[in-house]
């Protein structure tokens, strides 16, 4: 589904953030991208989701070479991913309902179906009764769940989460991880960046990055 071949990423005036990355992620896999702060985890996720382009090397997503993707085609590719950010990136001037509605508005979804889908996504993360509240009134864990609802509402084939539990206590973190596992079980590819692997019984793949290079770790169960 996702294939990196000899990918390098360098920002102007900096050393290579990522060096010679080659990897493959299959559809429906649960993948943890691990490594210390500044190792290049977030950059790897940005390359996967076509937020950024590699300096060299090739990235294929569903047999499509992202290097050849035109600028105006990028937004349509990004819609295939559900993105969850460490800082949530919620819009605090609108309700929870309107936050979750945003991807559907962007995707040009059927207006008559929008309300039902937003409520289904909120229900999935247990925030249905808070649809009219503003995000600022939610706790940290709830805000992250709201961000997940926004990511899943357009039914993406890949969920990408950048350190989704970094600022949460253990209870909230487990709750969030369980939501991700439930999506992986219904066939969604889930890619999560984290400092370390959370304790889980799930089958997963680990991509460990150290100083911009990938240390291949065998598939664990």
């Amino acid at each position: 589904m996702i294939k990196f071949t000899n990918v390098y990423k360098r920002y102007p005036g900096e050393m290579d953030v990522l060096q010679d990355i080659s990897l493959a992620i299959n559809a429906g896999e649960l993948v943890f991208v691990t490594g210390s702060s500044g190792a290049g985890k977030s950059t790897l996720l940005k390359l996967i989701s076509a937020v950024e382009k590699p300096t060299s090397g090739t990235i294929f997503f569903e047999n499509q070479n992202l290097s050849y993707l035109k600028k105006n085609e990028m937004p349509f590719l990004r819609r295939k991913f559900g993105m969850i950010f460490q800082d949530h990136k919620l819009l605090y001037d609108r309700t929870c309902f309107d936050n979750v509605l945003l991807p559907l508005a962007i995707n040009d979804s059927d207006p008559s179906d929008i309300g039902r889908r937003v409520r289904a996504a909120l229900n999935k993360v247990g925030l249905l009764e808070k649809e009219k509240l503003m995000p600022i009134t939610l706790s940290g864990g709830e805000q992250q769940r709201l961000a997940i609802a926004r990511a899943i509402v357009s039914r993406p084939s890949v969920l990408i989460a950048d350190e989704p539990t970094a600022n949460l206590d253990r209870g909230y973190a487990d709750e969030i991880m369980n939501i991700f596992y439930s999506f992986q079980q219904v066939g969604v590819t889930v890619i999560i960046s984290s400092h370390e692997i959370p304790s889980t019984q799930m089958k997963y793949k680990e991509l460990h990055i150290s100083k911009g290079s990938l240390n291949n770790v065998p598939l664990l169960t």
Partner: protein, 303 residues
């Protein structure tokens, strides 16, 4: 089609929400646009009224040809037939000196004996209307006429109307230039306001981009905001014009009673009013388009 309209409806609502969220700034923007646009439009209104008055004046180039007092009757007949045949001449009227003298005496209610004027001082004259207003043709015709023996003097009448129209035309051009400059100023002011607004909504722009929004989707609410600024500003302009007109006509009405005549101003037609609003909305749209485009471009450079 329904989805397309729904998208635009969604953007319009977002635009209105942004206007409401900063309603004091928005009202200020309406006033800025309204007052700025009212300057050239008031000028145009005055010119339009002046043009309407000048158009009511029937204008034809007229020549008064005064003949030599000693001219012979055969020469007059020859001139008469020659002028009649000329393609530039539309109408011709011959006024013999005796008739002119009688008319003058009747007008001034005097007799030659009483006033000691024993001789008729007036010459024979032709009064002709030309079927052209072209200065070159008229000048060449006058030069040809002056060369004819027996013609003492030629006077071109009605030139002042032409001069008035030329002045009005020049003022119109001046107002057009001033209007264009003021619209440019408006575009700059609105661009700056919407640019500040894009900073407020930078988070939304960034999130939208990350989850797959096209530039058009991100820009649309800002463009609607610009259009609403233009609409509000255009309506303020029409309101200001209405106040100016009502105030002017109130005073003009009193002056008319004193000096007579018609000096009240007519307002713009419905089409012209709509045109003013369209111009204001266009300025608002183009300014917000530039501002939003810049904001997205700046954000793209960060990735």
């Amino acid at each position: 089609m329904f989805r397309f309209l729904h998208n635009h409806y969604h953007a319009l609502i977002q635009g209105l929400i942004r206007i409401r969220a900063n309603w004091i700034g928005s009202v200020m923007m309406f006033l800025v646009i309204g007052i700025t646009l009212s300057l050239p439009t008031t000028g145009f209104l005055l010119i339009q009224n002046a043009s309407q008055i000048s158009n009511k004046i029937q204008y034809e180039a007229e020549l008064s040809i005064f003949l030599d007092k000693e001219i012979k009757a055969e020469q007059v007949d020859f001139l008469h037939s020659a002028l009649k045949k000329n393609s530039l001449v539309k109408k011709i009227h011959f006024e013999p000196k005796l008739v002119a003298w009688e008319k003058l005496q009747a007008q001034l209610n005097l007799s030659s004996i009483e006033d000691g004027v024993s001789k008729n001082p007036l010459p024979d004259a032709f009064f002709i209307s030309l079927n052209t207003l072209e200065t070159k043709k008229i000048d060449s015709f006058v030069t040809d006429l002056k060369a004819i023996e027996g013609i003492e003097e030629i006077v071109l009448d009605g030139g002042w109307v032409k001069k008035l129209r030329s002045i009005l035309y020049l003022i119109k051009i001046g107002i057009l230039i001033l209007g264009s400059l003021l619209i440019t100023v408006l575009v700059v002011v609105i661009t700056n306001t919407v640019r500040l607004q894009t900073l407020t909504y930078q988070n939304e722009i960034e999130v939208s981009r990350l989850i797959g929004a096209t530039n058009a989707f991100i820009q649309r609410p800002f463009e609607y905001t610009g259009l609403i600024y233009g609409l509000g500003g255009g309506l303020v302009t029409l309101g200001i014009l209405k106040i100016i007109l009502v105030s002017f006509n109130l005073v003009a009405d009193r002056v008319e009673n004193l000096i007579g005549g018609n000096i009240t101003l007519n307002t713009f037609s419905v089409e012209q009013s709509i045109f003013i609003i369209i111009i204001a909305m266009f300025a608002g749209w183009i300014a917000s388009y530039i501002a939003a485009k810049q904001a997205i471009h700046k954000l793209e450079k960060n990735y």
